[in-house]
């Protein structure tokens, strides 16, 4: 069975995931195989690009009226509150970002202090999406709610569709780390279910 959710650009043609058919164990194995295949491809890319310098990616500068996505994500991951946002609740930050991705299937390089989108701000870069993915993995570990893992799975479906050439060397390493974290989180959940169903 081919894992079905990495065969189109979900960023531009969103997948609803409604009424998905997934009762077959082979579906689960196909997802694992798909992710491991991507890890392998990213590993090959990394060895080809080793030592080749790449231009650093530009981030949006925060201002009075906007806070950069990179700053928001970094602050969340460091368990700090970024300056400039109206909220002081870390969980509210990751929940807002996850909600935006779930509803709109895209994030932007900066947001207003009330987390509303600001006109003329470009879409987030692949590097920023990968950083967001790591924040989701952190949230899953920090708060224990599978909703963050669900959003991470959807994000990685979108990222894994893209060819490895779409990513810089640094981003491909971080993406590989993220896929590894996702696999580990799902494996841990699977193990707890196996344990609970046997006891």
């Amino acid at each position: 069975m081919n894992y079905p959710y990495v065969h189109r650009n979900i960023f531009s043609e969103p997948e609803t995931y409604e009424f998905s058919e997934c009762r077959d164990l082979d579906f689960f194995r196909s997802w694992q195989a798909s992710r491991k295949s991507k890890l392998s491809a990213l590993g090959e890319l990394s060895s080809i690009r080793n030592g080749v310098a790449e231009a650093a990616e530009g981030t949006w500068n925060s201002s009075e009226n906007s806070v950069s996505l990179t700053l928001i994500i970094t602050a969340f991951r460091d368990s700090k509150m970024p300056d400039g946002l109206d909220t002081t609740d870390s969980k509210a930050i990751i929940d807002s970002l996850a909600q935006k991705f779930e509803i709109f299937r895209r994030l932007f390089k900066a947001y207003r202090p009330n987390f509303r989108r600001q006109a003329d701000v470009p879409e987030a870069s692949l590097g920023e999406y990968i950083a967001f993915g790591h924040a989701l993995a952190d949230a899953m570990e920090r708060y224990g709610s599978p909703k963050y893992l669900s959003t991470l799975l959807k994000l990685l479906d979108a990222l894994c569709y893209l060819p490895t050439s779409a990513f810089t060397g640094r981003d491909s390493e971080l993406l590989a780390d993220l896929i590894a974290r996702e696999l580990q989180l799902v494996t841990k959940l699977e193990a707890s279910i196996e344990h609970d169903t046997k006891t």
């Binding site: 997934c22 009762r23 164990l25 997802w31 909703k147 893992l149 669900s150 959940l189 279910i193």
Partner: protein, 252 residues
């Protein structure tokens, strides 16, 4: 003996949930004020005509007919009906029609993901919704799958609708065990919601009021569950299979 649900109507989109609701009312011999039909293509069913579900040991099994439309059930029982043009319950014409109904309580079984907007909430009607998920811990889409993943059971909550997502006061809530061999999305979910609805309507008829308690405690809003996690939820409930094993058996 048929009992009239005075002051209580039902808004029914052409979905499996509406079919389950109306068939449950039929089985319990409850007659609503009116059934308001939304216009949209009917959900398609290609399985067995009848599906038997033993939801609790004290009652006979519920025989659900997934292919029998809500319109067919309403017509067979000669219930009062109102046809709305279109499927948008928030459209001005729909709001006007709802506002003019005699019913003060409307059981809401509308189109999926359609939130009720303020003009409708301002009509003075109370909207009773049976949510698939145990609130407030499992609000939002596919809350019942997240509950199945974490708790091993399917949560259901009857609530009054307000402007939030599954935030209204609780009428009743409970956990149901999944049944082996029964499709959760198309059968189990609609039927356990219908079962909850049946219980609270009978409570209302017996005691003259609906219980109502504000939600409290840790809350979480969910979005549609990713199929990998849905698979794990089904695995927890013992509802998965391995097609490669069957294939191997056929090969030998």
């Amino acid at each position: 003996m048929i009992r009239k649900l005075d002051g209580i109507g039902i808004i029914a989109a052409p979905t499996f949930r509406s079919r389950a609701y109306l068939q449950m009312l039929e089985r319990l011999e409850l007659r609503p004020d009116v059934v308001v039909h939304l216009s949209a293509p009917e959900d398609t069913w290609t399985g067995d005509d009848h599906v038997e579900l033993a939801l609790n040991p004290q009652s006979p099994p519920f025989i659900f007919q997934p292919g029998r439309t809500a319109r067919a059930t309403a017509a067979a029982n000669d219930w009062n009906t109102l046809e709305l043009d279109g499927k948008d319950i928030n459209a001005p014409a729909a709001v006007t029609a709802i506002a003019s109904l005699r019913s003060s309580v409307l059981v809401y079984s509308g189109m999926p993901k359609a939130l009720l907007r303020q003009p409708l909430l301002d009509t003075g009607k109370r909207f009773l919704h049976v949510h698939g998920g145990y609130v407030p811990a499992y609000r939002g889409a596919t809350g019942f799958y997240y509950g199945l993943l974490e708790q091993g059971k399917l949560g259901v909550s009857a609530i009054w609708l307000d402007e939030g997502v599954d935030t209204g006061p609780i009428i009743a809530r409970d956990w149901y065990s999944p049944i082996n061999g029964i499709d959760i999305d198309l059968i189990m979910d609609p039927v356990i919601r219908a079962d909850m609805l049946g219980h609270i309507l009978q409570y209302y008829l017996d005691f003259g009021a609906f219980p109502s308690t504000p939600q409290s405690g840790p809350s979480e809003n969910f979005f549609i569950i990713h199929p990998v996690l849905k698979h794990l939820a089904l695995r927890r409930a013992g509802l998965v299979f391995d097609s490669t094993v069957k294939h191997a058996e056929n090969q030998s």
